[in-house]
């Protein structure tokens, strides 16, 4: 898929969309830092036995990774700045996927893993 535009206007998109909407190099660095920090936090709490045993462990981990997920999608994949169409194309299926996982967990009596 890399090289040739089958039909269509590659040029219509690239340049004008560029710098003003897109986050800058500084933002990217910040984002990388935040992502690293969250990952570090996740791994860190994994090593706190008392926290692992607590009810908060799983929700906290899920929240943290959801935040990471959202950040990468919003900034690195520039969904935040891009066409609304892409947002629909991505979040729709993502919602179905997440709901599917959750219902399967219920159906297999596995939601217990979250406590």
């Amino acid at each position: 898929m890399a090289d040739h535009s089958d039909h269509g206007a590659a040029d219509a998109h690239a340049a004008p969309h560029g710098e003003e909407h897109h986050p800058t190099w500084k933002t990217y660095r910040w984002i990388a830092l935040i992502l690293t920090a969250i990952t570090a936090a996740e791994v860190w709490i994994y090593y706190i036995p008392s926290f692992v045993k607590s009810r908060a462990f799983v929700p906290v981990l899920l929240t943290l990774s959801a935040i990471k997920f959202a950040i990468v999608v919003a900034f690195y994949m520039h969904l935040k700045y891009d066409s609304k169409l892409f947002r629909v194309l991505f979040t729709g299926p993502l919602a179905i996927a997440v709901l599917t996982i959750i219902s399967l967990m219920f159906l297999f009596g596995h939601l217990a893993i979250h406590s």
């Binding site: 535009s5 590659a10 710098e19 990952t39 990468v72």
Partner: protein, 216 residues
């Protein structure tokens, strides 16, 4: 025949391609649709892993040690420190990817090549970690045939690894083109597509790392 409603606008006259309806590129829409579809693919894989979690009849297990009926001792399989490293590498590769893309957009060939290479390298490093992980698991007695955990773990992470591999090949192809004739700013879209794919693979790993590695 009443064809009046189909006004024929001369700005779209014969010759050349009409502009796209949305002004967006076909391939980018295709990529997002593809990513949506991939969500379902990984949802199925992740669900399976989670469904089978704790159902293996024999060890080794992900998070706890296991002594076989014959008295053999198996360690908990998952190696969090190593995987945290590889997770970090993959996260960084996403940063490199962003930088590569913006270099191509700027027409900065020096940096575009550098960051493309760095991204590919980070991807390859991640794959190296995975290869190391897989071989050490096999040494510790876990293969894809051992138990439900082995089957679902290797298949899930293997599928992810295959995606990373495809991404690395793509990156290397772009790098090769950039080296050979240079990627022009108007070709940034092709890098953008690769970047979208790459970030998505990263995002999937974010989910896998938490759901499979960290949650016990």
């Amino acid at each position: 025949m009443a064809t009046a409603a189909i006004a024929h606008d001369d700005t779209h006259a014969a010759g050349g391609h009409p502009p796209t309806t949305t002004g967006l590129d076909h391939k980018k829409i295709a990529m997002w649709a593809f990513i949506g579809s991939e969500c379902m693919l990984f949802a199925s894989l992740i669900s399976t892993y989670l469904i089978y979690k704790g159902r293996s009849l024999v060890g080794p297990y992900p998070h706890e040690a296991w002594v076989s009926p014959t008295g053999q001792h198996f360690n908990a399989i998952l190696n969090i420190p190593v995987t945290s490293m590889s997770t970090f590498v993959l996260l960084m590769s996403s940063l490199f990817m962003v930088l590569a893309h913006s270099a191509v957009v700027r027409g900065d060939r020096k940096y575009s090549r550098f960051w493309l290479a760095m991204t590919a390298l980070a991807g390859a490093t991640f794959l190296g970690f995975q290869a190391f992980e897989f071989t050490s698991f096999v040494h510790e007695g876990l293969t894809i045939r051992t138990n439900l955990f082995g089957s679902s773990f290797f298949t899930l992470t293997g599928f992810h690894g295959a995606h990373v591999t495809a991404g690395v090949i793509w990156l290397v192809t772009l790098l090769f083109i950039d080296m050979k004739r240079g990627l022009r700013p108007d070709e940034a879209l092709n890098v953008d597509l690769c970047a979208l794919y790459w970030h998505f693979v990263d995002v999937v790993w974010i989910a896998i790392f938490t759901l499979i590695y960290l949650i016990k």
